[in-house]
Subunit: 181 residues, 2 copies
């Protein structure tokens, strides 16, 4: 038997070993714009290029994506200012206008694309919505992609947590209930 077999089998730290980036995911329906901070973005197919994005059903942006079938993803820069994450990550767009002081454009699909503190962006059209109880998984085909700052490095979730001391908000798939720690 390997000595490693004796390692404890329930270890909350294990989930911290999964690597992620951090992104602003936006959408729009009619006049309503919104966006949120997501770590849960990955590529699922190469041809055609499609991304999967996981979003809490409680997020206002999930409603807008479901209604419009469109989403944008901006890859945050490692040198991101606290402002963007504060505005998009911890407040609801039902209460505030998250875009009031943020540099963004209206993309060719008509939805907002955040440029500020971002190094690349994607506009996507949703092809499938998968219900995973508390969250929705949007499978979305890339309509266009853009490099905003090729010299910039992507912000990783590990860097955000370890260096910037950020925590996952309640709607994140990676949220840790403090009562369970």
């Amino acid at each position: 038997m390997s000595p490693l077999e004796n390692k404890p089998l329930i270890d909350l730290e294990a989930l911290f070993k999964i690597s992620y980036g951090l992104y602003v995911v936006c959408s729009k329906n009619g006049e309503k714009l919104n966006g949120y901070i997501s770590n849960a973005v990955f590529q699922v197919t190469a041809e055609p290029p499609r991304l999967a994005v996981c979003c809490s059903k409680n997020n206002y942006t999930a409603e807008l994506i479901t209604e419009s079938g469109k989403l944008s993803i901006s890859v945050l820069n490692k040198d991101v200012k606290a402002g963007i994450i504060g505005a998009f990550g911890y407040k609801s767009g039902r209460d505030i206008d998250k875009f009031a002081n943020v540099e963004y454009i209206t993309g060719e699909t008509g939805i907002p694309v955040v440029l500020e503190d971002s190094i690349a962006s994607f506009e996507c059209s949703v092809s499938q919505i998968v219900d995973v109880d508390t969250h929705l998984l949007f499978i979305a085909e890339i309509i266009n992609r853009r490099i905003i700052d090729n010299a910039g490095e992507p912000l990783t979730y590990a860097y955000y947590r370890n260096v910037k001391k950020g925590k996952a908000p309640k709607n994140a798939p990676t949220y840790i209930n403090p009562d369970k720690q």
Copy 2:
């Protein structure tokens, strides 16, 4: 208009800005064991904790996961030796025994869990399979999780590509067709 609006909209480099880790994903059906290297793993729900894993339909492991409903994920160490990635990443388990020279255990769900060059592992039970044309997305509930080496850092795809000069194999969701570059 922002000067950033003039950035080209089709830029293959943009997809390199998405952050990933690298993992060995394994399964077993009857006497058949197999595993492959994946970058496409993320958490989709917190309660219960579930992971999504994207796997090419061409991968032998996809067959075994579909048949058994079980998978394991080992998070590779940044200091991984070339051997593990070579054995699991670029060859088919239909032709070779990938486990011949690798340290692994049989987990409590009966499937192999690679320990070598890994810092954490998960055993999971598949709750949903999503068909995304060329790939399958396995939504899998975590049965157990284990820290193997808490001091080790996870291998990221960026580090593997930039420092170790590794490339995505043909079945990866992130595969770049050289004819299109």
